[in-house]
């Protein structure tokens, strides 16, 4: 269940030109599954900023965020020791049960972080985890080594071919054999994965949110089982229930 908590910044450093890793100290007990997110209050901004959880331990939370506007740029300027007001344990994360023994994780750009915590849990569950991490160029790559160090067989794709396989994540999917998949990334990538996937799987979606905990209906989407809130029933939806808005 959602909790409102104060966290203290342990680390806030750039991984690439626009991706930052924020490590926070505080009570993470409200977070129950990979793929969930937190909603961060920033001084001078009315709406909170939702950021997916990359990884968490008992007392440390790792978030990886992209600077896309004045809010995240403001966040990127915050220093160690400063405090943040978070709503934690938001959303419905990934369900590990249907993974099978060889799950495939497919992440694109800012969609990579939540898959890291997921990979960790799938590996400790005893799965053989394969990860495809897609980026535009070599400069944008982050966390490839971290996935490998976890023990995930990791493939990199870049659109310009400056590193790994040239092309899109779907190009790397072709020859792989897997029991199930989990994906997170920009919607065009999710659609391509939806078409390319040979198995069932779960998708994590991003949408502009008002509250982040189901109150405002700002992030509703249609599914085969009716309207769902990305912030509450989502952000993770199963392949079978997705209805793509054209």
């Amino acid at each position: 269940m959602m909790k409102q908590q104060i966290f203290t910044i342990i680390e806030n450093k750039p991984l690439t030109g626009s991706m930052y890793r924020l490590r926070l100290g505080g009570n993470t007990s409200a977070i129950t599954a990979p793929g969930q997110f937190v909603n961060i209050k920033l001084d001078g901004k009315f709406l909170r900023r939702p950021i997916s959880v990359c990884d968490r331990s008992g007392s440390m939370l790792t978030l990886i965020y992209k600077t896309v506007g004045s809010g995240t740029e403001q966040l990127s300027r915050m220093k160690k020791g400063e405090q943040l007001d978070l709503l934690t344990g938001l959303g419905n994360g990934y369900n590990l049960t249907p993974s099978g023994d060889r799950p495939l994780l497919i992440g694109g750009g800012a969609g990579v972080p939540p898959l890291f915590g997921l990979a960790d849990e799938l590996l400790s569950k005893g799965c053989k985890v394969t990860a495809i991490l897609g980026f535009n160029t070599a400069e944008e790559i982050f966390y490839a080594d971290e996935f490998r160090m976890l023990g995930a067989e990791t493939y990199i794709t870049t659109v310009d071919g400056s590193a790994g396989i040239k092309g899109f994540v779907t190009d790397a999917m072709k020859d792989l054999d897997y029991t199930y998949f989990y994906t997170c990334g920009p919607e065009p990538m999710l659609k391509a994965v939806y078409r390319a996937a040979k198995t069932d799987g779960q998708f994590s979606f991003e949408k502009r949110m008002g509250c982040g905990f189901g109150a405002c209906m700002g992030c509703s989407c249609r599914t085969i089982s009716g309207s769902k809130r990305i912030c509450k029933e989502g952000p993770v939806l199963e392949k079978g229930e997705i209805l793509w808005e054209d």
């Binding site: 409102q4 009315f46 709406l47 909170r48 700002g218 509703s220």
Partner: protein, 299 residues
């Protein structure tokens, strides 16, 4: 009666704090966060005759000291509200609730109010004639005094519960609409709904909201809301629920000094889900600071 208690159309409230429609769902989800019986009451999601998915997304945009929304009355429809939502609410809320109703025709307003008016959990009907986010309906009823009066009459004819008309701020003279509703038999008024607004995405150079325009709420609109509540409470004699950007105990007092009998808290619930119980807890100390014994004295 405690220091915070107020009277709204003949029903006593323990305090004047009422989460506003569209920011509190049908209540029971907030009951997981705190005991919602601490509230004076709450106003449920705007309910229509048929189920509505609402507008396309994005439906939300940031603004200075506020936010824009263009949800567009997403709701499961009045029958599902009665059969599914109200029973869930009954398990966690013992007080009368405010049923917020929207429609696209006078007949629809009447039909929905007739059904919800029969529900024992419903203490008041709040008739939204001011939604800026739906076309061919919503706000148009709230910008024309005659239309507003017609809706009021039609609703009053089908229910004995107090009828509170929710007014639009997007008008030249809100007192004209307020008087028309009072003359048509309204038991109370609530204002303001959101100010029609817009944002543009500098990257795409297109409107940020799929619906192009949306409603501005949050502290940014508080001084406009206060002015309209002042004007309306000086123009009519029925009670007025003041709303628009209220986010702390001081704002509650200022709005009641403008003449409001109670207040609704909207956007603030979305950035701080615990803001209503916090305000209720802070009110006595803030009242002491300004020498206010009982909130009723401010009326």
């Amino acid at each position: 009666m405690g220091r915070l208690s107020v009277n709204l159309c003949g029903i006593e409230l323990d305090n004047p704090i009422i989460p506003a429609s569209g920011t509190f769902g049908y209540g029971y989800e907030f009951a997981e966060l705190y005991d919602i019986n601490v509230l004076g009451s709450f106003s449920c999601k705007g309910t229509t005759l048929q189920p509505r998915f609402g507008n396309k997304t994005p439906r939300i945009a940031e603004a200075p000291s506020g936010m824009l929304n263009s949800v567009g009355l997403q709701n499961p429809g009045v029958d599902a509200v009665i059969s599914e939502e109200l029973p869930k609410l009954a398990e966690c809320f013992r007080k009368p609730m405010i049923a917020n109703v929207s429609g696209f025709s006078i007949e629809e307003y009447a039909a929905v109010c007739e059904k919800l008016g029969k529900e024992p959990q419903v203490g008041w009907l709040e008739v939204n004639i001011s939604c800026p986010n739906v076309h061919g309906g919503g706000m148009s009823f709230g910008t024309d005094p005659e239309m507003a009066a017609a809706v009021t009459k039609a609703v009053k004819a089908v229910t004995n519960k107090p009828v509170i008309m929710k007014l639009s701020p997007n008008v030249t003279d809100i007192t004209a609409v307020a008087r028309a509703c009072e003359d048509a038999g309204a038991d109370g008024l609530s204002l303001i709904n959101t100010l029609m607004a817009m944002r543009i995405d500098l990257r795409t150079r297109k409107p940020l909201l799929a619906n192009v325009t949306g409603g501005l709420s949050g502290p940014a609109v508080f001084p406009v809301a206060l002015r309209m509540v002042w004007q309306v409470t000086h123009a009519v004699s029925i009670p007025v629920i003041g709303m628009g950007g209220i986010s702390c105990a001081e704002d509650v007092l200022e709005m009641m000094m403008a003449g409001a009998a109670a207040v609704e808290i909207g956007a603030a619930n979305l950035t701080d889900p615990f803001v209503c119980p916090k305000i209720i807890a802070e009110l006595p100390a803030v009242m002491d600071r300004y020498g206010i014994n009982e909130l009723r004295d401010l009326k």
